[in-house]
């Protein structure tokens, strides 16, 4: 059974009374940054997986008959390629809708030659050989171009990776700031209670007895501040998730925090309490050794 620490510290001398509020702000920011970092990480996985399992083949030719012939030949050849799950030509209507942001709404058969787009889905077996497909495609359909999305995906993944690192760096900095603030709070607390501590020492109290009272106080500060900060962060995350849900599925949406996977933010108050307590313990014990 754990021994209850001797509580001799005055509750009135709250030199560190603002500490729970500061911790709550830090935890609010940490919870948001961590949640978004995880959201981006989840988005990276999702995009990477989605894009590495698909290919797009584009056949461009001004002669519709020749274009259709090359498209048919391409589909036939691709479907026979190991590692390919499916290969389907996209309907002209869909191609027109893809072009509409640049060319506006136009009817099919308006005279503008449309490319034939073939959507290829790969399986997870790893049997697929991209170089081999490219060389055979040159033979079967000289006007076909294969897009494995790598160039685009690399930029997006790089950007998302930087964002993720940045968010984690923010969490680390917030943690360091919190530790620093707790250290200053401890020192202020020690100064405020110096006379009491001296009396306790002179009555034979050991450093561990004195430090335990501070441990308990800073554990409470960390828990209280952490709980409040995480509560506010949870409300914000819920709001963001609600708005994202209304926006529908999209690239940005995939990188937003998922409420089902960020439940662990509820554990942050415990971590902040432990962080505050351990920081206080180290700071106070070091300071006590300089006393009588």
């Amino acid at each position: 059974m754990l021994k209850r620490p001797l509580n001799f510290l005055s509750a009135d001398k709250q030199s560190d009374a603002l500490l729970p509020w500061v911790i709550s702000v830090m935890l609010f920011l940490s919870a948001l940054a961590l949640s978004f970092a995880l959201g981006v990480n989840r988005g990276l996985d999702s995009w990477s997986k989605g894009l590495t399992s698909t290919l797009t083949i584009q056949v461009v030719h001004s002669d519709t008959i020749e274009r259709n012939r090359q498209a048919e030949a391409t589909i036939k050849m691709v479907r026979a390629t190991p590692g390919v799950t499916s290969a389907n030509i996209m309907a002209d209507q869909y191609v027109v809708s893809l072009l509409s942001p640049w060319l506006g709404n136009m009817p099919i058969g308006s005279g503008l030659p449309l490319p034939s787009l073939i959507d290829v889905t790969l399986d997870d077996s790893g049997d697929f050989n991209l170089d081999s497909l490219k060389s055979r495609l040159n033979v079967a359909a000289p006007d076909a171009a294969l897009d494995d999305h790598q160039a685009w995906m690399r930029q997006i993944l790089d950007l998302a990776g930087i964002l993720e690192v940045l968010l984690i760096a923010i969490v680390v900095m917030i943690t360091l700031c919190t530790i620093t603030i707790v250290i200053f709070g401890c020192r202020a607390g020690l100064a405020a209670h110096q006379d009491t501590i001296e009396i306790m020492h002179l009555m034979g109290a050991e450093d561990t007895t004195i430090a335990s009272a501070f441990d308990r106080r800073y554990l409470q500060h960390g828990l209280k501040g952490g709980a409040f900060g995480v509560c506010i962060a949870s409300v914000v995350l819920y709001g963001v998730a609600y708005m994202a849900a209304r926006m529908g599925q999209g690239l940005l949406n995939a990188a937003l925090p998922d409420l089902n996977t960020v439940w662990w933010v509820l554990l942050l108050p415990i971590l902040s309490g432990l962080l505050a307590m351990i920081t206080a313990r180290i700071t106070i014990r070091r300071a006590l050794t300089d006393m009588v």
């Binding site: 001799f8 509750a11 020492h201 002179l202 009555m203 034979g204 109290a205 009588v292």
Partner: protein, 244 residues
């Protein structure tokens, strides 16, 4: 039991406040520490209750050479010392009961034992009705009695008191001194710093005379000292963690 040999003390890099202090306090002895203001009485008391270590010289506490005792060993020694501070130094946010109970709690005494001893002692010093009062609501004399009760609650081997009767009326002063004498009779070595000549004469104990940081002389105890006190001191026993 406690001996000082050629002890000197200075604060930081300042000059010596105490010089060449030599004396021995036998177990169960009673001494008054007297001297004019600025003579170094408080500094000597601080050395006695281990608030400081001497700058030089040899100090022996209960058979231990102080220079060989590390900081981590000081709490055990301090628990054997009771201190009555001139300015009381009570913890203002704690009640009289909790202030007196602190030394026992530090030693890890049982709750029931603490309650019995503290209530008995507070009743003895006349504060049975003020147990739950905080120091801010106590008079100077009441604070003094709480401070004394806190110093003696664990029946220390050494009791150091700085002007312990300075804020109480003559009757209570006599009563408190009687308590000190009773404790002294059962083996508590006692050192009382005072300006009160009547007190010194009444008790008739040996005197450590301090002057300009030096112990000028030790006046021997009169042939026979009799105290006018007739009341019996509290009969509480040693608590858990106390040294024999």
């Amino acid at each position: 039991m406690i001996s000082f040999e050629n002890v000197g003390m200075r604060y930081d890099m300042g000059g010596e406040i105490l010089r060449d202090i030599n004396f021995t306090l036998d177990r169960g002895s009673f001494h008054f520490l007297v001297g004019p203001s600025g003579a170094g009485k408080t500094s000597l008391l601080k050395l006695l209750y281990l608030a400081f270590r001497p700058s030089r010289g040899l100090v022996n506490y209960f058979g231990h050479d102080l220079s060989n005792i590390e900081r981590s060993g000081l709490p055990r020694l301090r628990r054997r010392i009771g201190v009555v501070f001139q300015d009381f130094r009570l913890l203002e946010h704690l009640s009289a009961f909790d202030n007196v109970a602190l030394p026992l709690r530090i030693q890890g005494a049982q709750k029931k034992q603490i309650a019995e001893h503290v209530e008995e002692l507070l009743a003895w010093v006349g504060l049975q009705d003020r147990m739950h009062a905080r120091p801010a609501t106590l008079s100077g004399g009441e604070k003094q009695r709480v401070a004394i009760a806190r110093a003696i609650i664990n029946k220390p081997d050494l009791l150091v008191a700085d002007e312990p009767t300075g804020n109480v009326d003559p009757d209570m002063a006599e009563r408190l001194m009687h308590l000190f004498v009773e404790l002294n009779k059962i083996g508590t070595t006692t050192v009382v710093a005072t300006h009160d000549e009547n007190l010194v004469k009444t008790v008739g104990a040996p005197i450590l005379q301090l002057s300009k940081g030096e112990l000028s002389h030790i006046k021997a105890r009169p042939d026979k000292h009799t105290t006018p006190y007739g009341q019996k001191a509290p009969s509480y026993k040693r608590t858990k963690g106390e040294q024999s």
